[in-house]
Point group: D2
Chain length 461, copies 4
């Protein structure tokens, strides 16, 4: 997954973009980058592995100062393709001058697009599917930047939110299904785009509206132009953004993430009550809202039973006699005074492989919990996501392989309850329609990527 | 403030110590270090600026592998003395061989101790008061390591929890007032010491007991020896550890931090109700328990109205047209859907200068809150701490300079309520007796440090 | 300028390449890189700014271990384009699989090639002209790797020595003029290519022959194939390689650089004697051989009057009251005991802008030299190089703007003598024919690059 | 070995010191450091592993800007003690304020001094003998800085050149034997001290005089004061400084290093001729002068047969099938055209273990030399140095264990000649008297260090 941010018309666009990326760090921690026009209108890109807060290279960042147009990107770590050459934005020079592009999402016909371009002689310098879009824009003969983008996107399938700099124009585009969120804001007259509204808040911008599925928006000195040049398709907004991925202080797809999660928790309490439980707690932080909703609806008291350590980096030296669950213990700790002798409801937003959950349950039991009732504020994940979420293969998805009872046994809980698919969709503020729930339901709106080796190429999100 | 950790008798003591320091990172983020004996019994120290998770230098860490005795330290950033030479543990070689020392706390007669040592010809290579203790141990002629420590501590005033390696003996010491916490645990037969019990949890050790005020504990191949060689004084455990500093999943001073904070919140609701308020929320994460207690006692619903960004590093590039509150916005964001149109109670554990609070209140109002009622789960801070907490000068303490009404106006709230001193002390699980509340009450159990320039020398905590 | 190295058939090709690059460091210190096939035949590239000896990133270098095919590159620092994206080798993936390319030289129709490719939709991710060659190879439909290279090079004008990996084939190519050197060697059966023979020596390889101008050599599992598919043109080997650029322990263009420089010095003594001079010394290290030749021929004693500091890095902090010549003083120092009261001949291989020479002359005079007779072992440089040497614009070339007398006055010498063009060419071991002397004579074998902005794009060498 | 530099009275003393250290880099490449007073008179020290040119940490260096008093140090890499805590200058605070010290040399009674101090309660935070001197200065009750230094040095035995900052006074001291060089210069009124005169040249200072053996010089606002408070002993200047260690552009001990080496070479030609040899060459760069002297005296032509690669860093990845001599090949290469078929004289300044020499001889033979006659411009090294040169144990010194014939066979030469002890001493410009030649003659002017473990503690030089 990735986060994208762009601004046009601000006197320090690159610095605004860097600030915006701070709020999109949860969408990708592997690498961060900014492409911007300098005061002379020349394009530059700076990228680095790691967090935005670790600092973009100072000398290079200096280059970006003072220009009015910038886009930025945070990229998620996916195994094997974690190299600087796969960091975004992509910056290329072509016939029409420079093209810089930041992409959130995953294309489903990337292999075909790549094959077609390679047949036409194109070379690829990264393993990102996003690079194919840059090639297609470069090859377009359309007259305006937005028309070139629109032409390039014909035949591109899958999930994409794009921010593209062509010349002095900033173009935003969202695929017709609208899998990933993209909002538009106003910062004292400058136009801002971001994956989530929390990035508007941090820079002090006002939310204006969502970029719509299938929409292409162009911003230049003459103003903002919108068009819908892509095929109209039924929308398939990713419900997992509401369940887990987005920040609770964001509005996405027209609704509040916090309110969605609260409703998910309440619905979960209705569907899967835990009569006789003494307390409810969340696996912090992404499940806090849902757990609070559950507690509220169930009339059981909400407690803080797990503490999360936010200082944990990406690696730590494990003692040579380390036990199996030390990885979980580095990140979480249980509060014995809350748990001891109690029958507890543990609310999490999802279970993927089940290993972390098992470690947490063991920790909760070791802290004295008498009974552990696991409640999950989404439906069981039974399939991979082809549209940008980094879920593992079906073989590793616990709910794709085990029954409810087997999962409960595997993770060591007394009872286990998942939210139903319908209950999950009904909880979203904007109603059950228009969401993608393929990883829960198997109802994939596209064929799977044809090439099983596709993932070898990494992805653009 | 600092965190300390030590272990003796584990086959990979340095790695256990590094793991333990992860859980003490909240006590100090400026620098981290480990001193350990290698497999051959030779002492080494590795230190670095920054977080434990950024990794101790690999080549040097390798030196520490496989030895059975190690101590570690995390140090808080205090302005001006933030250099590697002030990182701990201190490792020195002297007549009796090596001495390694890690210190949490602040000495109140550091200037006198230093003067006395300098008169006797001692040289100081750091600005830490801890170095004076090392000198005094080196000069002691006592026969055993613990007797040398005991002799060295005669006449040392102020706050200290110490972990000291002398030869192959690990000595733990706590000052007679017991300002700072120090717990003792057992890890499969190895003896572990840590500032807080959460560090026992992360390494999988079992809590055994607190090191008592005035106690000196020695651990060597022959076992554990305890003595009380220091003057007996009335205990003065730091109540601010319960209010703010310690982690909620820790037990310190014999009581649960989480339970203390919950009780503080409930007492706050009784003392300073907010009739008519629609909801209660906390300034995350340190105030979560107190806010929950307030909500519970007041019967007002608990909400998640502020989201904290945990990816923020120590520096960020501010846009050149940045506004005053952007520093607050990088760290926090408000959830409009929760706040809009509501009368809200915002619970924080303390107000120091008031600048962050003012920024948060502005953010909460901008998100639509109709009324903001600030409730603080401690008494007003009216004086500095001489015992290890990094509070600013009296001039910068808002409650030392303004009346309640003036503070309310300054931070922009409709009403403001602090917990009373008595209410605060009564809320601690182990009862109101034996706590230091000098920064709240002015009741300093020692004279202030004689030398006003003392702070120039930094501190050992 | 750049250095290139490649090997096929060695069980640790990347390590051999890294070792070879040590010997080509004088050809480029800005960046270094290696592209190699791993044991599984997958291509990887690692690059870094700075010297080979500063170490390629360890984790990444590990990837390259154990493969049989690798190419490497060292790149010279030219102002403005000094970024990692311009480091080589270029690694791209295309229809035919991967293409990795390392280039020494400069194309003269880079703008046209780029325009043509951009018109056909190509995108460029660097400012190197080398990237155009990669595109052209990718677009070729020829059947064999060497045929694809040959086809791609039709119409490519200017200077290039190329090492290219296509699949498991290593292709070496040299432009028809043969501006830059390229030698071929044998390392226990593995085939090695390098810019200079000194890189064969360091890896223990035996010199086999030069790659000829216009030759394309392919090496794969079946052996070595040679072809001459490019237009036959009169050769134009760069005489400045002999004068200054190559290492004296190298053989290039079939002759010894050391012997060439010795002959240049002797011829210089014949053409520009310095009767009455007490001693001869060189500006170390590139002029040592020439100065020795001069001394020998003139019968004047050879002395070591200037000492060069080899520990100087790329930057140093200049004292705020620094004088004009401190940059020269950081790199050189004069030996007073040698110079005091003497009439001296100072031999250098060339004068470009004259600023360093002026500083050196001042230093030599300050050390007591009575008379300074400057002798230059090449002809005056009056024009830029379009073929890979990083000479400045004509405006900055002292000999393009001042007469001999004016130069002597400007640099502060008593007499000044340059070698004649004919004398220079006659001194080269392989005779005066077939050399490029455009920067000395203005006799450019190609039109200048059409686009004056061309240098904006940097170069591939 | 180490290099030291200091300046008092310059408006940017730290920057001048950094520049001076560039010229003393050959005396130590392990670590570099500067201690300086800032504009407010506060002392700071910045240190780093590696070269001066790699840059002292920028933020910290900024601290040092603008003060008038600074000292600096470059330290040689000796196995096992290569850590930042052993970098110099040492900066300590004591009764009299701060003391900063930079030391070149090695104490012979370091163990006793340390024992005595430890008995008196001192603690040591490094393994450098220099730290003992700081302790002794701190303990002195004398009134002036120079008197404190003088008192501290009573009873200190062995080799030391010291630059010491006490308050605002800069003190320079040289041991009574005068083993190591120390010069004094003038930079527009500022007083400068440096190990060698080449460091005066780089900063543009004028050489004034040597600091004399046994002299203590104090520089403060009132001027320069000199005293000879130490016991008068016969001088024992290190002859190896002339032979190898110092830079040829330096004057040390009142004489020119270049002239000394030239005379050593001439004397070597007289003592050990090589009749019938075709040419003479040096092992660059330290033997260049001696080889030139040999050639001159012998009437044999001087050639450049070995080329040294100055870009080699401290580590390189050796190919897995690397041969024994690849370490030599990374640093040197032979010029076949010079050597092929010739009978050659190879001049080096010394042979320590013999391994490098053996590799060089093999390289020279592989390049075609018919006969190799090795000539060494010093006497055989048969014992360790206790006074600051990092020679290995006697067991590793080839000339301490093998006869002349055995050495010749071991290193693979046809004939081998060393300079005689008398010839060596007679060649020094200032005459044969007053030099230490203990490592050549066994005539140690002091007892060896009593504690065989002494070297465990590393050294101050």
């Amino acid at each position: 997954m990735c986060g994208i941010f762009g601004v046009r018309g601000h006197p320090d666009a690159a610095a605004v973009t860097q600030l915006g990326l701070y709020s999109l760090q949860h969408r990708g921690q592997e690498s961060a980058g900014i492409a911007a026009l300098d005061v002379a209108g020349q394009p530059h890109a700076v990228k680095r592995m790691g967090l935005v807060s670790e600092g973009l290279l100072e000398d290079e960042a200096e280059l970006l100062r003072g220009g009015a147009l910038a886009i930025g990107h945070t990229r998620y770590s996916t195994a094997g393709s974690s190299t600087l050459e796969n960091a975004q934005p992509v910056l290329a020079r072509s016939r029409g001058g420079h093209i810089a592009l930041a992409h959130n999402g995953n294309l489903t016909n990337a292999t075909e697009l790549r094959f077609e371009l390679e047949e036409a002689g194109a070379i690829f310098q990264s393993t990102m599917d996003s690079e194919a879009i840059v090639h297609r824009i470069a090859r377009s003969n359309a007259r305006t930047p937005e028309a070139r983008v629109a032409e390039a996107l014909q035949g591109v399938e899958g999930a994409y939110c794009l921010l593209i700099v062509i010349g002095e124009t900033l173009v935003a585009a969202r695929d017709p299904r609208g899998w990933r969120p993209l909002v538009m804001g106003d910062l004292n007259g400058a136009v801002v785009f971001a994956s989530e509204s929390c990035a508007l808040d941090i820079v002090g911008a006002r939310y204006v509206r969502d970029v719509e599925p299938g929409e292409v928006v162009a911003v230049d000195a003459e103003g903002v132009r919108s068009a819908f040049p892509l095929p109209r398709l039924e929308s398939r907004k990713c419900v997992f953004e509401h369940v887990y991925f987005a920040r609770p202080d964001s509005r996405i797809f027209g609704g509040s993430v916090d309110r969605a999660r609260r409703a998910l928790g309440r619905q979960l309490a209705r569907e899967c009550p835990a009569p006789g439980a003494d307390l409810v707690f969340s696996v912090p932080d992404s499940s806090n809202s849902a757990a609070l909703g559950y507690a509220e609806e169930a009339g059981i008291s909400y407690e803080l039973a797990l503490i999360r350590n936010h200082y944990v980096g990406r690696t730590f030296i494990q003692p040579s006699q380390g036990d199996r669950d030390s990885k979980v213990r580095v990140k979480y700790n249980a509060v014995r005074e809350v748990l001891e002798g109690r029958s507890v409801v543990m609310v999490d937003d999802s279970i993927v492989r089940g290993t972390t959950t098992r470690g947490l349950v063991a920790m909760v039991r070791a802290a004295g919990a008498r009974e552990v009732h696991m409640r999950v504020s989404s439906a069981p994940i039974t399939g991979p996501c082809y549209y940008g979420i980094d879920t593992p293969n079906r073989e590793e998805l616990i709910a794709a392989n085990l029954s409810l009872e087997e999962i409960a046994r595997e993770i060591g809980v007394d009872t286990l309850g998942y939210l139903s698919l319908d209950g999950m969709l009904a909880s979203v503020p904007t109603g059950p329609e228009g969401f993608c729930h393929a990883c829960f339901s198997g109802d994939y709106p596209t064929p799977p990527p044809t090439d099983p080796d596709k993932l070898r190429f990494g992805c653009g999100c």
